[in-house]
Amino acid sequence: MVSAARATGVDGPLFKRALLGSLSWLAANHEEVNRLNVFPVPDGDTGTNMLLTLQSAVEDVRESNAAEVSKIAKLASHGSLMGARGNSGVILSQIFRGFARAVEGKTSLTPAELAAALEEAANAAYRAVNKPTEGTILTVAREAGRAAATAASGPDATVPRVIAAAAAGARAAVLKTPSQLQILRDAGVVDAGGFGLELILEGMLKSVEESDSALAALSEARKPVSPAAQVALDLPEGGWGYCTEFLIEGSNLDTELIRGQIESLGNSVLVVGEPELVKVHVHTDDPTRVINLAGGYGKLMKLSVGDMSTQHRRILDSEGAAGTAKASRANGVGMVAVVAGRGMVEIFRGLGVDAIIEGGQTMNPSTQDMLTAIESLPYDEVILLPNNGNVIAAAKQVVGLTKKKVHVVETHSMPQGVSAVVAFRPERPAAENLKAMRAEAERVQTIEVTHAVRDTRSNGLRVRKGDVIGLINDRLEFAGGDYAEVVHKALSKLGPDSYELVTVYRGEQASDAELARLESEIRTSYPGLEVEVQQGGQHHYPFILSVE
């Protein structure tokens, strides 16, 4: 098997094996890619997005026995485009596309042809991106291609050596990314997408030449690299926006024209594909406008709107979404909420929410999850509470997808959600309830307390991994040694004289002693505030406080 690769170059079966190898290696290591991102709150998704993209690329390849490398490459290209998720996933799909173009019509690749295809793959990726940024997966792809070309020009070039060189080139490039991007340097991380690509090349190498000494050396060296980070390609200061992705199916689609229009609505724009199928990726503050615009070109498929820095996994709370519920409410209005934490679920249920979708903080439910919950209710009119800034866009998508009348109260946090639900009156019509709920949600201030998942600088703060950080209304404001200190600062910033009640939602990580200390800190420092403690049970955030 090993010698076959050397003798015949890269044919269909070998490329298939390489792809499967890269999939298993990325699958084994994607959490390392996920672990951290530039924003130091506990969530992340680059590894998962790349893995899902690669899975989609390999899906059809698995079924194919094609002898020609060109056929396998084409399947991978198509599959990755259909399944691309996130910025890095989209670029990965373009790398596959460039590779497939370069090997078109070929049965097998010589080492030199392989290197040339890798270089062309990188070029295709550069072309697909509106404003290429160095220090990202693009740079890593290019350096991998260059290293492959150098290795291929040598007298004893073999396929495994070319791939080994590409992987080594990728690794060197990954390690250099912090010197190219300020945001990585500040955060003290390497680029996550680039690291993901490195893993893919390493996985290919493992599968084509297990015994090669070059690989052994490489594996040895590949200690967990410094934390990886997802970096948006041309991320503006301050804004992350909503990551909006979809496919347009149509005819004579003009990618240039579409890209030009999408660019005016957001950044990190990627518009790639064929005249019949175009993949769009954009970070925008107004996903609806993007979707409306794109809808004019053809049929939209695989629409997803989410936050680029969060993980997209959902669990539908089956108990909460009980289809057995009876429509007993006088106003005929149901309520659905996205909630994280067992205690929080109980609180929302107790307040009269009919269906709960678990998730929010690190698991953003999809539009589909929310739709399912809404459809399960015996009410034709439903109020939906996303309870997380990253869920709002997906929640708004639901409105157009069901015959039911859906109203989204744009709650950015669970405390906002609680306040909104408290204002709900079962005998009052929806319009009045919405007005009251929105007003109440805006009244409450949210303090979230968690640990920085790694060193970073953000909002003028220097944060070290493990530091307690405090966010006020989703904005990182304070870092410190313990919860009580950070909460003290946050309350002081809000101005405790303007408020009356602090509700402390205790997360699952918080100990009794930590809770006692936090409570006594608030009571001692701010005697004018009433303190109420609730078991929130949320993950990742030891304390969430509502101040009103």
Binding site: G343, E346, I347, R349, G350, L351, G352, V418, S419, V422, R425, P426, E500, L501, T503, E530, E532, Q534, Q535, E548
Partner: protein
Amino acid sequence: MTRTFAVVTDSTADLPREWQGRYGIEVVPLKVLFGKETFRDGVDMTNEQFFRRLAAATSLPTTSAPSPGEFAEVYRRLAKDHDGCISIHLGAQLSATVEAARVGAQAVEGFRVNVIDSQTVSMPVAFLCRVAAEAESLEAATAAVEQRVPKTRVLALLDTLRYLEMGGRLSRAQALIGTMLDLKPLLLVADAEIKPVDRVRTRSRAIPRMIEYFKGDLPVEHMAVMHAQAADEAEQIATALRKDLADGEVTVGQIGSVLGTHTGPKALGIVYIKA
């Protein structure tokens, strides 16, 4: 006294003390039980003493209605110099008092007692008593009171639902508060029921809601602001309401011990009879 019929109520009417003499109204006390100690509401203990003791109590006190015998005793005494009696009591949905009065009345032969279920509690009952006391005959008094019973309202803001819940008067679900959260329930006693009006997270937000709701019920014939150890807030509410009332008269009164056992401290109420 020219009036030939007597007017009787119970201690939960929160009847201002001076009305007893001025209008000749008889008050039968309910009882508060701290463990084995029994106190007659408004007789053996002042409201201040009661709430101090309530705050310190390790277990909540219980309350009990007067016995039929106690009512019979009062009616028998009144029968000596009256030719009839109207006996107005707190709502049957809240207490057995009105039943005890009926049974007690039957025990006194030859004396007519019109027992009225006011369907309400606190000062609206006192207002009904005043209306009765000012009537020319027992028939007229009874008609005037019965006509006003459906118009009585008690709008109550509780600082916590704990006391009402412990007393078995209202479940969290009935109060629309099926949650662990310490919400401030705004309740309405009307039409022989306790209904939730609103639930609010903080007291300072709840008070304007209560005022707003009350204003929606204007005009009123009689009204008062009641409180349990929350005199300052009650005064603020009264001040806020005076300009909205034709005669500008707002009585501020204290909730008695028996009612206080169920509302808990810091309860506030706007109580009234709709015009």
